[in-house]
């Protein structure tokens, strides 16, 4: 692999032997150093107070008795291209090591080549289940750097769209979690409800996914007229349907058997691992950025933070199910309190002139042209802004050197950090638990690999 620009085509010959990742893989016990071995076994964190391991599994099996297999990138239940190497003693998992990078798209490098105006399209493809929230985090960071205020209506539109996006992301999670546990009818219901939200996104932003709707300085376009009754229809149907899901899943013995008491996480372990979002709230820590560090207009809206009690899979399922209902409550309040006014800040540095004026005046045309080709200059400095994405705290760290392109764009992906809890949660569980653990952590590999 001499020249980094060599495309895969020229090394096709030695391709099949190349799937092994050498040092990144799970090595035999003899070849792993002590810290790494204890981390993979998940014991470095497992506090002795929580003796959770059944006595029947002794964790220091000799190398030849255990089997190392990998739940590789092309696996139905790894929610994308996550590769997990598991050391199994028959059916029980002794060691786990996630190997990621199979969807690494070099987005942070591409982010440095795109101007601030174009940056949204790059960032929105990271967590492809909640694109609006990615763009929101990026735009808020840029606005903090530019130190500009956006009009009230834009704030409320952003909040409405990100809550709708949270609902659609949790619906996809309900669908895939049901499918992972064998309830494939849940897949059909979850995706069917999500189509309502995607139809509204298509009506507002023109696209179902990767909308590029939230931009630095406000939103791309105003809400379509008559949007209130669209959103009301969405809220009513999905609110009624959440009780159907509850009925479909919560009472079932198989579902309960595989979710209750499986893969618990304690608050200290979650904090030490830097885990955020529903995974952290399931351990009883009431930390939701929308409540703790309110951004947009979350302090003027009435909603509950859902916190679990036992920290196991069933709590994470219950949290996500109830968060859909909370999002519906927020969306209903957004409909009532939506202020009027312009949907984008009138600061000419950031917002292009309206289409109509371009035809008339030359300056508007030049201004429009310069803004979209070169983008706007951002004063030098650095900023870290964080929002609550359906998976946890999504942070965007931008360093700007005064030009129109960010000097360094780093996105703190919640799934990337939550994924580290895998070896801890799978410790001592059986293979079927491993599937539920991956599903309840809800990793989106687009943002894990960036």
């Amino acid at each position: 692999m001499s020249d980094p620009n060599v495309r895969a085509a020229d090394r096709l010959g030695l391709l099949t032997a190349e799937t092994s990742e050498g040092a990144q893989e799970l090595q035999r016990r003899a070849a792993t150093n002590v810290d790494e071995l204890s981390r993979e076994v998940g014991s470095v964190l497992r506090l002795d107070g929580l003796t959770l391991d059944p006595t029947s599994i002794d964790f220091d099996r000799r190398d030849d008795e255990t089997m190392i297999i990998n739940m590789g990138p092309a696996h139905p239940s790894t929610h994308g291209v996550l590769r997990l190497m598991l050391e199994l003693d028959g059916e029980f998992v002794l060691r786990t090591k996630p190997i990621i990078g199979y969807l690494h798209t070099g987005m942070e490098k591409t982010g440095e080549e795109l101007s601030y105006v174009q940056g949204g399209t790059n960032v929105t493809r990271m967590d492809y289940l909640s694109p609006v929230i990615n763009e929101l985090c990026y735009s808020m960071a840029v606005e903090k750097l530019l130190d500009i205020q956006i009009p009230d209506r834009a704030v409320w539109i952003r909040m409405l769209m990100s809550e709708l996006n949270r609902m659609s992301s949790h619906l996809v999670w309900m669908a895939t979690n049901g499918m992972d546990l064998g309830a494939s009818s849940m897949m059909i219901y979850g995706l069917r409800e999500r189509e309502l939200i995607l139809a509204f996104f298509e009506k507002t932003a023109g696209l179902r996914l990767n909308l590029n709707y939230v931009r630095p300085g406000g939103v791309a376009a105003d809400l379509p007229d008559g949007w209130q009754d669209d959103v009301l229809v969405i809220c009513d149907t999905i609110y009624a349907r959440t009780f159907e899901y509850d009925e479909l899943l919560t009472g079932q013995p198989i579902f309960r058997n595989r979710m209750i008491g499986v893969a618990p996480l304690a608050a200290e372990e979650a904090l030490a691992l830097g885990v955020t979002g529903p995974l952290l709230r399931s351990t009883g820590v009431a930390w939701d950025l929308r409540r703790a560090m309110p951004y947009l207009a979350y302090d003027q809206v009435e909603f509950d933070v859902i916190v679990g009690t036992y920290g196991d899979n069933f709590d994470r399922y219950a949290i996500r199910l109830n968060e859909i209902r909370e999002s519906i409550r927020i969306v209903r309040q957004c409909i009532e309190k939506m202020p009027s006014g312009d949907y984008r800040s009138q600061d000419p540095k950031v917002t292009p002139p309206p289409r109509a004026r371009i035809g008339e005046s030359m300056e508007a045309l030049i201004h429009h042209f310069k803004l979209f080709t070169e983008g706007f200059q951002v004063p030098p400095g650095e900023v870290y802004s964080a929002v609550e994405s359906p998976r946890g705290e999504l942070g965007c760290y931008i360093v700007s050197d005064g030009t129109a392109k960010p000097y360094r764009l780093h996105v703190r992906a919640p799934s990337f950090v939550n994924l580290q809890a895998v070896s801890l949660l799978m410790r001592g569980g059986s293979m079927s638990d491993a599937i539920t653990v991956i599903s309840t952590i809800d990793p989106v590999l687009g943002e894990v690999d960036r």
Binding site: G90, I306, F314, N322
Partner: protein, 150 residues
Amino acid sequence: MMFVDQYLPILGLLILGVLFGAGSLVMSAMLAPRKRPSDAKLAPYECGIVPEVEPPQRFPVRFYLVAMIFVIFDIEVVFMYPFAVVFRQLGLFGLIEVLVFSLTVFGALLFLVSEGALSWGPVKHLVPGMPARTSSSTIVRINSDSDQAA
């Protein structure tokens, strides 16, 4: 004569079986677009990864215990066949005999289950005294006024 027509249907069935088996083999050989499978197709499928570590031959005992259960029931059924053919002539005596036989086999099953052959279920970490939880009873709602810090 009686001898032939009694065994004729068995012969017919045998021929049909052979024909069907051979037929499908020949058809697939004829129609298959690619005769010799490439080495990739012979390799085991490990989610797209080419496995260098060949799977170990040693399997934990747990798998063999489950296999034992199958063997037990298999033998039981094999002995049931001749009984099923003549159970009318045997009458009550035959019935009791078979019940005794299946009870002894059931004893073997009980032993295996006590050995933990069937305890495969997901490993549960149940907190003692955990109530039966529903999706709304297991969560705590924190609204803005009762804002408890973490």
